[in-house]
Symmetry: C2
Subunit: 339 residues, 2 copies
DNA sequence: CCTTTCTGATTCAACGTTGAATAGATCGGG
DNA sequence: CCCGATCTATTCAACGTTGAATCAGAAAGG
């Protein structure tokens, strides 16, 4: 019942351990005859390499840590899923850590505390300061994601993601291009970790400005958190105040779902009377019964780039500290109006 | 820039490596004076133990693998989150693998292929057969979860979870106890991996039988998958057929959200005209604008029990192969925030 | 036929840690 | 004052693997 080792296979096959190692790793030169024999013995004994020993010897673990506030948040689940997919394709294993936006947990994670040997750390911080990054002791490659992480990036510890301001501008522009003139937002925030809200609000304002439209404060829906109930409540308030809007930009899809629900209850047709755009393009939107568009933060491409950065041999600093990737816009509105 | 090792700390502090090891691990007997000195040096040099070396020596990695079909599915995200929480509290690290319900991927995961050294494997299978479990070569502790996994369990590779049939019975009973007599279901399935649907349907039938109510086929909502759109469509069909129901049991919360949306659009008051019960008690339900109850599959307790089984020194087989935990029912029927 | 080159295989040491065995110092009791 | 017990610290080997160095034998070249 004891673990089968390289040497056990070697003895059984009548060769040296190193030769078996060569077969397992495809290294060195091994005659076809021996190779086949050894493979047979490996299968017979059910040999499986001990990754700890291998890692101790070679120094690479094939492990990457992913730290996120809370996997229950659909966007984080979505990103994590995309990241797993990229990693699995490369034979990289991902260990996950939830920080719940706790500063001490975030700091410990930054150092890889309590973790197995890693190739790199990917994290979506909520509380860290630039100072925490600067004081970091661990030399492990670190990649930041998310809007809060955006502000902490350095060339050595870069941020990867789409341009949030530009994406929000494009989302708003999409509504304008469909002829909507009075566009409301849901997702304005005060206090707390508001990097996301600030950037998306900025993009929204830019789009209006570019179109020569003055922002109307009565069309701004404030929220405390980005969840369904708040999206619903904010929409409720807009309707109650008799705000006159034909377009609605929600700062994430969860808010959008809440708003769509409220609009449906009040008999406001979507996209007939109000066209809606969300942000994150979460899978659930594909099954939404209401028709709306959403900004696709390109999690698949972001994941790939992160792994390129971490596993890349060069480990070159990223100029400016920001690797900006193109976002997309998915339109769940089936019949597209060609322009 | 080279990694700081035990021996580096030892030299600096003028002691042996083993003494430093003792300080780090709290083993052996070390004088308070030396202990303090060594801790200072550890901090000064930023020493961090090499987990691979430690694991190679001790044989335990503190790593558990969690395999799930797709983290984007809210229930899986929810469970994973609970599992991370339990694991982190115990200093256990979790590596995640997505199987997408692919048989080959599930089989490979079962063997721990491509994984670092693990303490155990937790998996929610969709395609595995009992045969795959029986033919397994890896001796790693394996715990199964989910309804499909339920059917594969053995005393050595147990299943952990709540009693699905009983939980579905209780959910239905809750509606009956509120005076509802005509109770519809959404979530009946044909073909595919239907373990979940079958068990919940059985519980539903039992509750009706116990109450002396004959099941009415016209109150059964069939679906292909458990998602929002299907829940909505099924509710739509029930309404279109003028099905007369005052209670609705949805086989999961995602179906319930879709149904609630449709009921809202059609002006059917919830829980006034129709009381709704879901299954999974996902976080999102707490933010739902509609009032409904849901079966809580007790993911926190399930996670704890799984880790007990895997990390427990005894590794005793579970009689019958099933560790059944009590479920809960959360009632989101709260006083709504007045507007 | 002898030297050189090439190929396939082996030997050896080391990765960083910790369990087991051991050594030295201190202490208490007879 | 000596002996055993107690406490602190050390030495040594081993966990399973693979890079580097090496070697034996065959093939190639002069």
């Amino acid at each position: 019942m004891a673990r089968v080792r390289l040497i056990d296979v070697a003895r059984r096959a009548g060769v040296s351990a190193k030769t078996v190692s060569n077969v397992v790793n495809g290294t060195g030169a091994v005659s076809e005859k021996k190779r086949v024999e050894i493979l047979a013995v490996i299968d017979e004994l059910g040999y499986r390499p001990n990754r700890s020993a291998r890692q101790l010897r070679t120094g690479s673990s094939g492990l990457v840590a992913l730290g996120m506030p809370d996997l229950r948040e659909p966007y984080f689940a979505e990103f994590a899923s995309a990241f797993f997919t990229s990693a699995q394709r490369r034979g990289v294993t991902v260990v996950v850590w939830q920080t719940h936006g706790d500063l001490e947990t975030e700091r410990a994670f930054l150092e890889g505390e309590g973790m197995p040997e890693l190739e790199g750390i990917v994290m979506s911080p909520l509380r860290l300061s630039s100072d925490d990054i600067a004081k970091r002791r661990s030399a492990l490659p670190l990649v930041l994601i998310g809007e809060h992480g955006h502000g902490l990036a350095t060339p050595e510890n870069p941020h990867v993601g789409v341009d949030n301001i530009e994406a929000a501008r494009a989302a708003t522009h999409l509504l304008l291009s469909k002829g909507r003139q009075r566009i409301a937002v849901i997702g304005a925030q005060e206090g707390g970790s508001t990097a996301t809200s600030k950037m998306r609000m900025e993009g929204y304002r830019r789009a209006l400005r570019d179109a020569g439209i003055a922002p109307d404060p009565s069309l701004t829906g404030w929220v405390i958190e980005f969840n369904r109930a708040e999206g619903s409540a904010a929409a409720e308030r807009l309707l109650a105040a008799r705000a006159d809007f034909d377009g609605l930009f929600c700062f994430n899809d969860t808010l959008a779902f809440g708003a769509l629900y409220t609009l449906a209850i009040h008999g406001v047709s979507v996209p007939g009377r109000v066209a809606v755009v969300g942000f994150d393009a979460i899978e659930e939107g594909r099954f939404s019964t209401a028709q709306f568009a959403s900004v696709d933060p390109n999690s698949a491409k972001v994941s790939e780039s992160i792994l390129d950065l971490i596993l890349g041999a060069e480990r070159a600093p990223v100029p400016g500290g920001h690797l900006v990737l193109p976002f997309g816009i998915v339109d769940h509105e089936l019949p597209r109006i060609p322009d």
